[in-house]
Amino acid sequence: MTLVVTVNGVRHERAVEPRLLLSDFLRHELGLTGTHVGCEHGVCGACTVLLDGEAERSCLMFAVQADGHDVATVEGLSDGSEGGDALHPLQAAFREAHGLQCGFCTPGVLMTLVPFLREHPDPDEREIREALSGNLCRCTGYQNIVAAVRLACGTPPSPRA
């Protein structure tokens, strides 16, 4: 099937198998390997991308379902050059607060948080943790991810943390 999709602002037209997952399309057809695959059954959240601005699990979608839609991946968040200024404020906050260790779950976490923070610019800790509850992280214990979100929003760190 022919698929026409815009990814990070660039239009792509490709012939793909109907069964090709969106995650595999992004990673292996477009070379956008920042979107990671951790479970392929929609639980870990590592593959989260934005579809028309909303967080979606790219491992639970076929690429053809993205036909005519606008996809954003972690590569589109910033221009990626070295130096703090080039990072998206959320990325910079993650670096500052040590919100990542191995970094494998991180792209999915970021792409989950972008629409969340758009709708909840001043979340409290409970809201942040609920927003993150669909993303598994084995390294950080989530504490510094929460701290990074608070930092990005300009809210003070939680007491005793």
């Binding site: 191995c102 942040i128 609920e130 598994l136 214990g141 991810i145």
Partner: protein, 788 residues
């Protein structure tokens, strides 16, 4: 406590943000599945559906005929390349030890020994096609009864996992210290219990992956592997494939979490994918999926302990006897590391005058057991800490005070426990200051006031709140050795290469901090390369909380040598004595003249002249390689305390507070150490209350997905309040100890104690981990029935 030493801005001890983060945050970091390959073939494995069966035939002809399939390999197709993997860790020389080595095979030949064991390998134009072809393979196998339960496994009528052995016994070892029978005879009380710890998954979010490319012109094999041990993988592959070690390059790029199973080698996929790439002349890649990970990636933690504590009336430990069974799974390539860690770590931070520990390791028809974060230490801590809790109750002592009474004193170090550790060296604690750590934890969690006021008040209001406090030690930083090469480049930037790969521990930053401090440069100017055998090819790997200790010390030693070279050359250039020179801001200058002097990059150019003569014996450049191998491991310690509230109707546990006081010697980067602890505690909480691999009596794993196997999420893990203490290790120049596994080690013991305290009115005893709401509910109900 003495005030902490002043923190440097960017060197050792500084809270420096990480050098690697920009790459990871922007999606540019390279993981194995990201490696761009030219026209790769993709692999899928046909895996055993049986836990135990005789394999009678594998017919792959239909699969081979499927369009898009390049090759299908079975054990028969491997020819002489088929042979069992190496015994990774030969057991220590314990007198009387029995050890039966049965290591894993690349593809099953006659017998299937666990669900998920690979039977055939399909190589095709895409992973999708390779998986299609798995359905074409016809396997005939006669199921056999499975060995699942540890206690039944040694019965004379039990089926045997390895039929050439007389039983399922994989190993038997006894270690002794002092005279336990005598201690028992004069004890005021002997506390006896049976304890169980069950399996969990390591569950790194990145599954395993191997990609390989054979360059026939250059006769070079490149392998990208999610391993924690790229150098041993390179050496082993070269040997297996008949290549020079220098013809094989193994790269462990960014690895998405290790936690132990990625140090295991050789996984079948690691020997098969490179072999297929050479044979087929095309790049070949395999990436594990999550379901495979649940069956084919190693696991840990099945043990049953029958333990007793001989204790005096005042709570002093007179001796411990522990007899335990250890589940090693279908094969035992990792030797006895896990049960020996259990055996050794049981002694904890306490003065235990007599000890008898006997274990039997058992083959079962389950996934292979190798270390997972903590690596057997959890079990030892669980047993001693629970025994102390029960002793305190029986003797009418406070839980914290019975611990205090038995802690080793600072004047007892180095303290020889008189048994052998996993590294074959005597289990000797290098340094420690245990009692202040306990006090600090008790103060942080407000232990006395909680028991005296808060708990009473809340209990009176019908709420079930409990507190726990446990102590632990962690043997870290074992040998044999690691190395590092430090080079000052003409740009003034510093390059640091070391063999230990990274799985998120911050190597790009911590090692850079060490070098930056020695050379007086900014941390951001130190470019670290790890885990690529072309860059550095001596070393063993990332395990046993040893990166900062062993590789970090090698980085330090190499940087010190480069510093000497810098000072020697600069003293000639600046006509000054080395003692009058200062390295700072990327320059060498005379003391008091920070604007003057010479840039390190300029010196590097001068150290590598294009023409002219050099002094006799001169080495080019500002570069040095150094190695570090400690005599033995350094022992970190800590105290965890927590307050929980339990709803006895739903058996849900809410962690109200979690306090960690830990001592890993000198801290290189407190931010990174805290991160290691947070993650360890979360892993420990998962092990304690959410995660359990449930096998049925046929050896089938019943919950092999993240829908059924619950990893803790952001709403399950509390904020951890962490305090660092620093008792330097005398075994390395920086005084550091390891911390990677610490957080995960005492959590089970703590969880059990705090939940039991919260449910004191139910009178239950918790002697098992993992719990779950269901299991806790059963324990509560059983205890109510008993008390009726």
């Amino acid at each position: 406590m003495a005030p902490p030493p002043p923190r440097a801005r960017s060197g050792i001890g500084a809270r420096v943000r990480r050098n690697e983060d920009a790459r990871l945050l922007t999606g540019r970091a390279l993981f194995v599945d990201d490696v761009p390959l030219d026209g790769p073939l993709h692999v899928a494995f046909l895996r055993s559906q049986h836990a135990h069966a005789r394999l009678t035939s594998v017919d792959a002809s239909a699969a081979r005929a499927r369009p898009g399939v390049a090759a299908v390999y079975t054990a028969a197709d491997l020819g002489a390349y088929w042979r069992p993997g190496p015994l990774l860790v030969p057991p220590p020389p314990i007198p009387g030890l029995v050890f039966n080595a049965c290591t894993q095979v690349p593809l099953a030949r006659d017998k299937l020994r666990h669900v998920g064991e690979p039977i055939a390998m399909v190589v095709a134009e895409s992973r999708y096609l390779a998986e299609d072809a798995l359905d074409d393979i016809v396997v005939e196998a006669d199921p056999l009864p499975a060995v699942v339960e540890l206690e039944a496994a040694l019965a004379p009528e039990a089926p045997r996992v390895h039929e050439h052995l007389p039983s399922n016994l994989a190993a038997h070892a006894v270690q002794r210290k002092g005279d336990y029978p005598r201690a028992k005879a004069r004890a005021h009380a002997v506390i006896r219990r049976r304890f169980r710890y069950d399996r969990g998954a390591s569950a790194a979010i990145e599954n395993r992956a191997v990609a390989a490319q054979w360059d026939a012109r250059a006769e070079e094999l490149t392998v990208w592997d999610t391993t924690q041990a790229p150098i041993p993988i390179r050496n082993g592959l070269a040997q297996r494939l008949g290549l020079l070690e220098s013809q094989v390059r193994v790269v462990a790029p960014f690895v998405g979490g290790g936690f132990g199973p990625k140090i295991m080698m050789f996984y079948p996929e690691e020997v098969l994918v490179p072999w297929a790439a050479m044979r087929l002349g095309r790049p070949v890649k395999w990436t594990e999926d999550r379901q495979e990970n649940f069956f084919a990636t190693t696991q840990e933690r099945g043990q049953i302990h029958d333990a007793e504590l001989a204790v005096a009336k005042d709570g002093k430990i007179l001796g411990v006897r522990d007899v335990f069974l250890h589940d090693t799974g279908a094969y035992d390539p990792y030797g006895l590391t896990v049960p020996i860690n259990s055996q050794c770590t049981l002694l904890g931070p306490y003065d235990v005058p007599s000890y008898e520990s006997e274990f039997t390791a058992i083959f079962t028809n389950k996934t292979i057991v190798t270390p997972v974060r903590g690596a057997g230490r959890q079990h030892g801590v669980f047993v001693i800490e629970r025994l102390l809790d029960f002793a305190a109750k029986e003797l009418g002592l406070d839980r914290a005070e019975i611990r205090r009474k038995n802690l080793l004193r600072p004047d007892q170090f180095p303290f020889n426990n008189e048994i052998l550790f996993q590294d074959s060296a005597p289990l000797t604690y290098d340094s420690g200051d245990y009692e202040p750590a306990l006090d600090e934890a008790l103060e942080a969690i407000d232990y006395k006031r909680f028991l005296r006021e808060e708990q009473r008040r809340l209990r009176a209001a019908g709420r079930h709140v409990g507190i726990g406090v446990v102590c632990y030690v962690e043997g870290t930083g074992i040998g044999p050795y690691e190395g590092a090469r430090v080079t000052v480049e003409p740009s003034g930037r510093v390059r640091l290469a070391t063999g230990v790969g990274t799985q998120g521990q911050g190597h790009f930053t911590v090692f850079a901090q060490i070098v930056a401090e020695v050379l007086g440069v900014d941390v951001g100017e130190v470019h670290v390369v790890t885990g690529d055998t072309r860059e550095f090819h001596w070393g063993t790997g990332t395990f046993a909380s040893r990166g900062a200790v062993v590789a970090g010390s090698a980085c330090h030693a190499a940087a010190v040598r480069v510093r000497e070279k810098i000072l020697e050359l600069a003293s000639r250039e600046l006509a000054a004595a080395p003692a009058d020179l200062v390295l700072a801001g990327g320059r060498v200058h005379l003391r008091g003249d920070s604007k003057g002097g010479i840039a390190l990059g300029t010196l590097a150019l001068k150290a590598n002249p294009l023409r002219g003569a050099v002094r006799p014996g001169a080495e080019p450049g500002l570069e040095a390689t150094a190695y570090f191998g400690p005599d033995r491991g350094s022992t970190a310690n800590g105290v965890h305390a927590m307050v929980v509230e339990v709803d006895p109707e739903t058996a849900q546990v809410e962690i109200k507070r979690y306090v960690v006081v830990h001592d890993c010697g000198r801290v290189i980067n407190p931010m990174i150490v805290e991160g290691q602890i947070h993650g360890g505690v979360a892993h420990g909480i998962g092990n304690s209350f959410y995660e359990q691999l449930v096998y049925d009596d046929e050896g089938q794993l019943l919950n092999a997905s993240f829908m059924d196997y619950l990893l803790p999420t952001a709403t399950d893990v509390p904020n951890v309040e962490t305090t660092h203490r620093e008792t330097p290790s005398p075994l390395n120049p920086m005084g550091v100890k390891g911390v990677g596994e610490a957080g995960a080690i005492p959590t089970g013991a703590l969880f059990a104690q705090a939940v039991e305290d919260a449910l004191a009115d139910a009178g239950l005893e918790i002697c098992e981990i993992p719990l779950s709401p269901n299991r806790l509910f059963e324990l509560i109900s059983a205890s109510r029935v008993r008390s009726r």
